[in-house]
């Protein structure tokens, strides 16, 4: 079986070609860093259309939607245990807390081409890695009967510079999260995977559901990835964007078991450690899948798709 994590020259060529097309069409503007793009109003209007569409699918069954800021408290990040599995993707925020003399030292280092960041100190925030992380500390304690169901949206930072426009360093996830008993969480994930397939198919996207694994770091990570696949904890909804053979994950459904229930001390009404599951819609990736499938000029998209997105 071909390893999808090995990106061949052919795939890079296709990714660069799509990126060039997006830039020429004025949909994305490149920066000097791979994976960092400025987005046009058209791109943003598609993002907001997807937001409305998935929001409508969950309407009435979730607590009110919350928009999370792009940074979260450092202590929440540490408790999420992300550092253990994905250290290479994290973004830790430093700032300057010194006095005039320290500032003079920083500027001297800067002017002399030295490492000026040595004069910085970790701030009490980190960049957010997954849209649902900031949610869990607010659930500490005992859940009501039946658990809780939440809808959240936020920017996620993943340090993985790439020429693939679908692999941005910072992007938005729109998530529906269930916290409660294991069976309820699995049911939530299954129901939403079906709903997501339906929503995305109705938008004309050639999507399929596949078992998947997260990009766990290092040697130990390879074992974790195999385990995750064998226990079918993660499913992705994939769609060809720059490759038919290696389609892009544009949504995913994850059953976390007690991964968040334990560190955030969340218990069910029965006194058990709560489990959790989420479905995450990758707003930028769905937007790119639509642009690839229907063309770069949204004026030429079918009336049906445009009407669904309200664009």
């Amino acid at each position: 079986m071909t390893d999808p994590s090995v990106v061949t020259d052919d795939r890079v060529v296709a990714q660069e070609a799509f990126r060039s097309d997006l830039v020429e069409a004025g949909i994305l503007v490149r920066t000097s860093v791979d994976g960092l793009y400025q987005r046009s109003a058209v791109f943003e209007s598609i993002v907001r259309g997807i937001e409305r569409l998935v929001g409508a699918a969950g309407a009435g069954r979730y607590e009110p939607l919350l928009f999370f800021p792009p940074v979260l408290p450092r202590d929440v990040f540490v408790r999420s245990d992300y550092l253990r599995s994905f250290p290479d993707l994290t973004g830790s925020v430093d700032t300057f807390v010194g006095n005039d003399r320290d500032h003079a030292d920083l500027l001297r280092a800067l002017d002399e081409g030295e490492d000026w960041t040595q004069y910085l100190t970790p701030a009490e925030v980190m960049l957010c890695s997954a849209a649902c992380h900031p949610l869990y500390p607010s659930l500490t304690g005992t859940l009501p009967e039946g658990g809780r169901r939440m809808e959240v949206q936020g920017f996620c930072f993943r340090h993985e510079p790439s020429v693939d426009p679908a692999r941005m360093q910072i992007f938005r996830q729109h998530e529906f999260v269930a916290v409660g008993a294991p069976d309820d969480c699995i049911a939530h994930r299954e129901e939403w995977l079906a709903t997501a397939l339906s929503i995305l198919s109705t938008l004309g996207l050639p999507v399929t559901k596949v078992v998947a694994n997260d990009p766990f770091f290092g040697r130990a990570g390879r074992i974790l990835a195999v385990n995750q696949r064998e226990t079918a904890l993660k499913f992705e909804i994939v769609c060809p964007v720059t490759s038919e053979e290696f389609p892009t994950a544009i949504a995913s459904g994850n059953y976390h078991m007690d991964h968040f229930g334990v560190p955030f001390e969340i218990r069910t009404a029965d006194g058990e450690t709560a489990h959790s599951a989420c479905i995450g819609f990758g707003l930028e990736r769905i937007t790119l899948a639509l642009l690839k499938t229907h063309g770069l000029d949204v004026q030429t998209w079918s009336a049906d798709v445009r009407s669904q997105l309200g664009i």
Copy 2:
């Protein structure tokens, strides 16, 4: 004259009271870090209403709106010279680039309560400090006759933890930027200050225009602040939010002179170093000013204000 940077107990009490009101009304959700909030869909709908309203005021006279990501290339940040004047507000991003053994060291430090961030390395990105910073590298070279006019929106990070809900650590600015000859830049700022006063007054906000200064760092910064006021480079549009005596800046118009033209090597058609000016609308602060002025229940706002905002 009372120094507005000295925050008295009375002001803190008023800020905490407004914050509590916002949280009780479900408009903002607090986190464990001051200045970091989760935002409700109502809050976000007001933000988007302001975005539409100010966008309409600039319609047809600006290049197409660009949405910038919350992080920008490190080299752009360094060239903006922000570190010289506001080191204490910056957010530098670190990530992990080591191998399995380095990762084991990081996790050991984490588990033993040591400083695990020592195993991180500066990434090629920083948190964005001002919405217009990512724009300037794209202007390097010679401008067309008459310069250029741009509309941008983005998240800004300022490390200044505060109980004041109007002093968020990460928030959005919607900006209109002029780059070109000095007179054109000053005219752009003056025209937009008048437009901003008109838009915000029509929304029922008791706004006034005042000369202002940026919070320059340290001893040298105090001189820079005085100079900035004396040369009237910065104006703010202020509105009472938690204090009548110390109203909150909800928009500002800044004439940068050649502050960006020099490092980003931007020249006018005449071959002179380009000047720049921007008007920035603080989307979160305008939202908070509206909530303070018209009440926390948007259903009770006047039909006129709601219709202007499309909410």
